[in-house]
Every structure is written in structure tokens, then in C-alpha cells.
């Protein structure tokens, strides 16, 4: 699992867990950040908010918030070769 903030644009993963206060979790969960939701990072420039795509819509997230969303990276075919 990695924090969402560490994904680069184009990388896809699945939401695993959220950390933070009840309020933050409540807001994120309502927007679709629930375990099992596929998520793709659209913009992440290393500073400023990131943009992700999930459940058919795009959401901008502050870096602080994106650090609290844990995702499992989707398996990437290229990596499989090198791991074998």
C-alpha cells in the first residue's frame, strides 16, 4: 500500500483505506473514496493539489488529504516481467 500522493499521473490503483478524522473520512467516503474503488491519478506535479479520477468524476485533493488515502497499485505488466 502507498499513499495516493505518491502516485504519478497515469498510475492507477485501488483505494484500500483512509486515515484521518471522522469528518475528513466522511467527506472523502461520500465522494467515492471507499475501499475497493479504482482510482487514477490525473495530475500530480509534486506540489500543490493533485487531481484524481474515480467513480466517473474528477476530484482535486490537497496533498495533505492525498497522504491519508492509501491505495494498492494496480499490477503493471512491465513490472511482472522484472519481478519474475
Amino acid at each position: 500500500m502507498v499513499p495516493l500522493v505518491e502516485l504519478t499521473p497515469g498510475q492507477t490503483g485501488v483505494v484500500r483505506n483512509l486515515y484521518g478524522g471522522r469528518r475528513l473520512i466522511g467527506r472523502l467516503a461520500a465522494l467515492g473514496f471507499t475501499p475497493g474503488a479504482p482510482i487514477t491519478v490525473v495530475r500530480n506535479h509534486g506540489m500543490g493539489p493533485i487531481i484524481v479520477s474515480l467513480r466517473g468524476t474528477q476530484v482535486a485533493l490537497g496533498r495533505g488529504e492525498a497522504r491519508r488515502v492509501m491505495v494498492r497499485l494496480a499490477e503493471q505488466p512491465h513490472d511482472d516481467l522484472s519481478c519474475a
Partner: protein, 673 residues
């Protein structure tokens, strides 16, 4: 003739409106789903805009007639869910639970069906029948999404109406469906979302415990679910309602199941997945929608910023090329009108003629002069919001605004301040959190408005003929730097609170709806005239009276007396009491600084430069730039955040401007010997 359904009176005592004879229909939906467009299309000008009792959130209600039947329509604020995360969400659920509308129309964006159905999953648990409106079917088609409403209807067990509200498509079907549902000619058997098996037993346990104690009219199973979701408001309510030992028991259960919140939300999304599986065909992989294509440029760090600068340039051009000249034109007309009136009222006592011509006409005229610039700004705001571009502006500017504990949404309102602070303060309504909104309102008067800049443009050449550009630039940059510093300080020390979480949906781009924009501009302009306008007129008359009585001349007036009392403060800045007086008259309108100086000193070009040393001239300019805003701005601040914060804002600005003036004068005197 059809039989019109009547409103089911549940608790007459609770009802405050007289419209209770008509069935009450509530519109609910997430932000950006086109709910307001539907509301405007249905009600047209038959609507009333106010605030929810005791809240700063706008309340819109209206009536519409279909066939022989009339309905009362209430527009609930946009809410992503029904947990007490925001004021909007609390209002929405409280309204449905306490006021019991006869039908709730749940509006969703067909193009982002999955996410926008989340609210429906929550609405179905409340005691009101729901009609689902699939709005923006055209946008969905444009994004390559195909939806079969009948299939969705069969899955959900509630009426589903496809719609393009902006093009008036589907409204008649909605009205017919509404009538049929109210007359019970139509089946209503909703399939509600369930909780995941892991938390089923604990939910049952809580329901059993709390049912005898749940206050009316809350549904116990809903309360139990909200308790599990950790809803603070419902927890507080049940803490009062339950006997202490029972609350302890429930509280322990909740503590044990703190993770339930994600499970419950997850179960709702799983339910949505089951509901839409058969009804929705997604675009083929690789098909890129319009929004994605536009965002490839518009949220790009370089190109996006470039486009933003062009858009901002256009906004400024509109303000200064159209708004300001119109403002000046109206001001001239008013002045001439006041002059004519003065002549015509020759028969009256002098003070009465002056009161009518200068106080009343001048004050009312000032309200009028604001209109062109306000209308321009409301159009810009509505366009930015309605097209979906506003969210991109917020995204692009967030990093910069973050330093002040604000986020990108505060950027546009503050920027509007360069034209006029009034729309800037009204524009803060787009900011969701109370704290961020308040901070933005407190900072807004530090943005120099067109009128302040006019004063600078007149005064600077008098004192610094060779450095006009440099001094003006320095003054503007100084204001912005101060705004940033005050923002950081307030964020750190005064309005600390929770750092605003930046979580913002980037809605799909839409073609703006002219009716929505027109009504937005109309209602906001009208509200300004009615609310702020009355205060402005009142205060203008009072200040006018202070500057007129007792002798009929400003030099001998009560206001001049105040200026003289402040002479010691003026002395620290190297300013005479006349100049302090000029600053105070700028409270009516910023341009008054010049007008008052003219009255007191005659030809400014000949007199002023000789009166003030360089440090004193700088002090005058700095103080003017930071001084308390005009009465229109102050009245708007009062209207938006109340007396307390209005006075705090005034005190901050008074301290900053006088402090700034003293500092500049003293430092300047030191350096220049």
C-alpha cells in the same frame, strides 16, 4: 379535470408558511448537478430567495403549476451526503425530517451517475417518497455514456425521469410523474441500500436499544445508522435523549465499530453498482470526453495558468473598460440631478434642500452607481460557476492561497475586489467552510478597489510627478503583501481552527444556461439593493448630516470636530486635521477623499504639494489605501457575517491604516532626515 393532490398536513404547528395547501416538493441533489437550473425552469420568476432561518445558506422556494395543480417547490442546498459534514447537508436532512415534504425530487448528473446516486442512497432512508431525475442526459451522451431509464427504474423501484433541464426536456414528464405519485396512481416500492454483513448485527442492536428513546420525528433506523457513521450532531442528540447508562453502552458499541463509516459508505456504493449495472453502458476504453480534452489544457500547470491569466485579463478589461466608465457616468448624472434638485428646492430651508439633494439623492445614487459593476461581476461569477471553470481556477490557485490557510475558492472573490469590494464579499458565498469564508471576507477590503485606485491616480501625480508609476505600483503591491501577511497571521493565530481540507469536485464542463445566469444576476442584484442598499442609504444620510450640521459647512461640522479630535494621531503621520477629515468622509465613498480635500484646500495642484513633505504624502497615500472600506462594503460585510465580525473588520483596518501611516511617516522622516 384532474384531482389535485393536497399537502399532507403532518404537524401544522411546525409549519411556518401559508403555502401548506399545495403539495410541498423538495429538490435535493449534489452540487453541480443542475438542480438550480431545474428549479429556475420550473418556477421562473415565481420564486422567493432568502436565507434558511439562522443560517447563511441561501433558501429558495417557489411555486409552479402543471395542468390544474399547483405545487410549492423548495430548493434544498447542494449536499454530497446527509452526514453533518456541512451546513448544507444538515439543512437538507433537517428539512426532510422535520418539514416532511410530500415528495423529494433527487436530481443526479447522468454523466456521473455513480457518484451522484450516493445522495439518493441516503435519501431513500428518510420518510418521503423520492423521484429520481437523471439530469444532463445530453452531457452523458456527449461523454459516451448510454443510460436506460426504464431499466434503472425497475432496479430502484422508484420513478425515474430522464431530463435535460437546461433545454426544457423532461420537465413535463416530471410534472406528470409527480402528480401520479401524489395521487398514488403509481407504485412506489423502493429497494433501499443495506449495510454490509459485518455490521448488520450491531446496527440491529443499536436500533433495538434506541427505538423507545428516539425523539420525534426521527426514524430510529436512520438515527442508528448515523450513529454508526459517527455523525456528531446525531450523537449529541442521542446523548440528550438516552438515559445515561444506555448511552454509555451505545457509546462503547460505537467505539468498537469506529471503522463502520467506511463500510457503510462502501455498502452504498456497492448498492449503486448493483442498481446501475444493467442500466448503464460506459464509453469504450480510449474514448476521450470533452471535459478530459479541455482539461488537458485548462488544468495544465503552464497552459492552464496561461489561460487563467487571459481570463483574468478579460475580467479586468470588462471592469475597467465597461464597468468603471458606467459607474462614473451614473455618478455624474446623480451629481447633476442633485444640483438640479438643489435649485428646484430653493423654497425649502437650506438644510432640508441639502438633505434631500445631497443626503438622500446622493446616498440612493451611490447605491445605483454600484449596479453596473455588480451586474458585470455577477455575470462573470455565474458564468465561471455554471460552466465548471471556477473549480479549475480554484485548483490552479490553491497552492498560493494555501499559505494563508485559504484554498483556491477564495481566489476569485478576492480578485473581484480590484473592481469593487462589494461583489468580492458577496462572491465569498461560493466558499464552503465558514472559517475560510470569514477569513476571505476579512481580507477582502485590503484589495484596493477601482475607487481607491482612482484616488491614488489623482493624488500621486501631485506629490510624485516623476514617479507616478513606481509609487502606484508600490502601493498596490504593498496592499497585496499586507493582505498575504495578515492572512498568514490570522490563519496561524486568530482563526486557527481546522486547516481547510481541500477536497473539490471538478465538474464536467457545461454550456452555461442563460436563464440560470439571468436569474442569478437578477436575484443577487435585487438582494443587494434591498439589504445593503437600505443600510448604505441610511449611513450615507447620517454621515452627510455629520458633515453638514451644525453650521452647514464641512469645515465647521461635527465630522470636522472629529477630525480635529484626531489631530494628534494625524500629527504622528504628518497629516493635518483636514486630511484626517478627508479620510473619514471616504467612508461614504472613496472618491470623497478628493472631494473633501477640494472643499478644504481649493485647487489641490496648487496647495497640497506644498503642505506635505514626502514622508507625509506617502503616509497619506498608504493610509488611504488601507483605510476602512466604503459604507457599501461595510454594509455588505454586516449582511454576510453580522455585526460582530463587521466591527472586528473595521477595527483591524483602522489599526492597519493608521498604524501603516504612522510607520511610513516615521520611517520616511528618519531616512530622509
Amino acid at each position: 379535470m384532474t384531482i389535485c393532490p393536497a399537502h399532507k398536513e403532518i404537524a401544522p404547528a411546525q409549519r411556518r408558511s401559508t403555502s401548506a395547501i399545495h403539495p410541498v416538493v423538495a429538490l435535493a441533489g449534489q452540487p453541480n448537478v443542475g438542480k438550480s437550473t431545474l428549479f429556475n425552469m420550473l418556477t421562473g420568476l415565481n420564486q422567493h430567495v432568502g436565507n434558511w432561518p439562522g443560517k447563511t445558506v441561501e433558501q429558495k422556494s417557489g411555486t409552479f403549476t402543471y395542468g390544474d395543480c399547483t405545487y410549492t417547490l423548495v430548493d434544498l442546498p447542494g449536499a454530497y451526503s446527509l452526514t453533518a459534514n456541512s451546513e448544507e447537508e444538515r439543512i437538507t436532512r433537517d428539512y426532510i425530517i422535520h418539514e416532511r415534504p410530500d415528495v423529494v425530487i433527487a436530481v443526479v448528473d447522468a454523466a456521473i451517475l455513480e457518484r451522484s446516486l450516493y445522495l439518493l442512497a441516503e435519501l431513500l432512508l428518510l420518510p418521503a417518497p423520492v423521484i429520481l431525475v437523471l439530469n444532463m442526459m445530453d452531457v452523458a451522451a456527449q461523454e459516451g455514456i448510454v443510460i436506460e431509464p426504464q431499466v434503472l427504474e425497475a432496479a430502484l423501484g422508484i420513478p425515474v425521469v430522464p431530463m435535460v433541464a437546461a433545454r426544457n426536456r423532461g420537465l413535463l414528464t416530471l410534472a406528470a410523474t409527480l402528480g401520479a405519485l401524489l395521487r398514488e396512481e403509481r407504485a412506489y416500492e423502493p429497494r433501499r441500500p443495506t449495510i454490509l454483513p459485518g455490521h448488520e448485527s450491531v446496527l440491529e442492536e443499536i436500533i433495538t436499544h434506541i427505538t423507545p428513546h428516539t425523539p420525534h420525528p426521527y426514524p430510529p433506523d436512520w438515527v442508528a445508522l448515523k450513529l454508526l457513521e459517527g455523525d456528531e450532531e446525531v450523537q449529541a442528540m442521542m446523548l440528550d435523549a438516552l438515559p445515561a447508562p444506555l448511552w454509555e453502552e451505545i457509546h462503547a458499541l460505537l467505539r468498537e465499530h469506529e471503522d463502520a463509516i467506511l463500510d457503510i459508505a462502501g455498502a452504498r456504493y456497492a448498492w449503486i453498482g448493483r442498481m446501475i449495472r444493467a442500466a448503464v453502458a460506459r464509453p469504450r476504453v480510449g474514448q476521450v470526453g470533452l471535459t478530459a480534452r479541455l482539461d488537458a489544457v485548462l488544468t495544465h500547470p503552464v497552459w492552464g495558468t496561461g489561460v487563467l491569466l487571459i481570463v483574468l485579463g478579460f475580467v479586468f478589461w470588462l471592469t475597467y473598460a465597461i464597468g468603471t466608465p458606467l459607474m462614473d457616468g451614473i455618478a455624474d448624472l446623480i451629481e447633476q440631478g442633485a444640483g438640479l434638485l438643489h435649485g428646484a428646492l430653493g423654497g425649502l430651508p437650506a438644510w432640508m434642500a441639502a438633505l434631500l439633494a445631497d443626503g438622500v439623492v446622493g446616498g440612493a445614487g451611490m447605491v445605483l452607481t454600484f449596479l453596473p459593476i455588480l451586474i458585470i461581476f455577477f455575470i462573470i461569477l455565474a458564468l465561471l460557476e455554471d460552466t465548471g471553470y471556477m473549480a479549475r481556477v480554484a485548483y490552479l490557485t490553491d497552492r498560493f492561497m494555501h499559505m494563508m490557510g485559504l484554498h483556491g475558492k477564495s481566489f476569485i472573490p478576492l480578485l473581484l475586489g480590484f473592481g469593487c469590494n462589494v461583489p468580492s464579499i458577496l462572491g465569498t458565498r461560493i466558499i464552503e467552510t465558514k472559517r475560510a469564508r470569514l477569513l476571505t471576507i476579512l481580507l477582502a477590503p485590503l484589495v484596493p478597489c477601482a475607487a481607491r485606485l482612482t484616488v491614488v491616480a489623482v493624488l500621486t501625480p501631485l506629490f510624485f510627478p516623476r514617479y507616478v508609476g513606481l509609487v502606484t505600483w508600490g502601493l498596490v503591491v504593498g496592499n497585496i503583501l499586507l493582505l498575504a501577511i495578515i492572512g498568514v497571521l490570522m490563519h496561524r493565530f486568530i482563526l486557527k481552527g481546522e486547516q481547510v481540507a481541500f477536497i473539490m469536485e471538478l465538474p464536467l464542463y457545461h454550456t452555461p444556461n442563460l436563464r440560470t445566469i439571468g436569474l442569478y444576476v437578477w436575484q443577487n442584484t435585487l438582494a443587494f439593493i434591498k439589504k445593503a442598499g437600505t443600510i448604505i442609504l441610511g449611513v450615507s444620510i447620517i454621515i452627510w448630516a455629520l458633515s453638514y450640521f451644525p453650521a452647514g459647512e464641512v469645515e465647521l461640522s461635527y465630522l470636522a470636530h472629529l477630525g480635529r479630535t484626531l489631530e494628534p494621531v494625524g500629527a504622528w503621520m504628518g497629516l493635518s486635521w483636514q486630511m484626517m477629515l478627508a479620510l473619514f468622509t471616504s467612508f461614504i465613498a472613496k472618491e470623497n477623499t478628493i472631494a473633501t480635500l477640494n472643499i478644504l484646500y481649493g485647487d489641490l495642484e496648487a496647495t497640497l504639494p506644498a503642505l506635505l513633505s514626502i514622508p507625509a504624502a506617502l503616509a497619506l497615500l498608504v493610509t488611504q489605501m488601507l483605510f476602512i472600506p466604503c459604507v457599501a462594503t461595510v454594509a455588505t460585510i454586516k449582511q454576510e457575517v453580522g455585526w460582530k465580525w463587521m466591527f472586528i473588520s473595521l477595527l483591524i483596518l483602522l489599526a492597519l491604516s493608521l498604524g501603516g501611516g504612522v510607520l511610513v511617516y516615521q520611517l520616511g522622516s528618519l531616512v530622509l532626515g
